[in-house]
């Protein structure tokens, strides 16, 4: 929640060139932060039950086909 108050201290409400320069990050750093936030790490197989089951079923089918032959 915010409240307005009169600028009695005569605070500068427009940023100076120095403030802008100080706060402007290099784009590669911003891109790195973006990657860190959006790209999730790969889940290990044992923590992904669906993928684990799928691979297990494929393995069973291949094994049964091998026994048939």
């Amino acid at each position: 929640m915010r409240k307005f108050e009169l600028n009695k201290d005569k605070k500068n409400l427009t940023p100076t060139k120095e403030q802008i320069k100080r706060q402007k990050r290099d784009f590669s750093r911003l891109h790195h932060d973006y990657e860190k936030l959006t790209k999730r790490g790969k889940k290990p197989l044992y923590r992904d039950p669906k993928l684990f089951m799928l691979l297990f079923i494929i393995g069973i089918i291949l094994f049964l086909l091998f026994l048939e032959e």
Binding site: F4, L6, N7, K11, L13, I20, F27, D33, Y34, L37
Partner: protein, 189 residues
């Protein structure tokens, strides 16, 4: 080198199309709009440099993440960035447990008084305080409109683009708000 040169020669529409495919091409858009968005957020926060810097970065990260959803509807690309910045600042205010004080210049308050036709030639400090008190009694969405029009000195069309509404609708909302402020002022006389 050639690639770099090519990118700097691209139009904004071409840059947007490239950035939609791969976020690494968002760089020129970031360079072009950082200052404008930082100034906007800085003012909305009443001059808090560090928080303004953080929220500006957050705004651009959100913009990068949502580039795929951006549609060119004939508005300036900056309107879309302003909309994200506006939401980020509002979210920051909502998350705060304590109230956050935003400083406002006297001449902005005087402009608002004049637009709301509060009938006075000179505003004393007490009258300015009273008007600020009235502003603080408005709800968030009303305050945002007042802020954009009077404290950020934005054009009706630019405000309309941020909210994705027509210019006529924006004018109507702001004039209704000015009427409300005028009524509250007269009630507290």
């Amino acid at each position: 080198m050639t690639r770099k040169k090519n990118i700097s020669n691209l139009s904004e529409t071409e840059l947007i199309a490239l950035a939609k495919k791969d976020q690494k091409y968002f760089g020129p858009l970031y360079e072009r709009y950082f200052e404008e968005i930082f100034r906007f957020i800085f003012k909305r926060l009443g001059g808090d440099e560090e928080i303004a810097g953080d929220i500006t970065q957050q705004t651009f990260i959100k913009a990068m993440a949502n580039m795929g959803r951006y549609e060119d509807r004939g508005f300036k690309f900056s309107s879309w960035l302003y909309r994200i910045a506006q939401n980020e600042v509002s979210m920051y205010f909502r998350q705060l447990k304590k109230s956050y004080s935003v400083a406002v210049d006297e001449n902005r308050i005087a402009d608002l008084a004049q637009e709301a036709e509060l009938e006075m030639n000179y505003m004393s400090m007490d009258q300015q305080e009273k008007l600020v008190e009235i502003l603080n009694s408005l709800n968030e969405s009303e305050l945002e409109l007042i802020e954009l029009r009077f404290f950020q000195a934005m054009r009706f069309q630019d405000i309309a683009n941020i909210y994705n509404i027509t210019e006529a609708n924006t004018k109507m909302r702001i004039y209704r708000l000015l009427d409300k402020i005028s009524k509250l002022w007269n009630e507290r006389k």
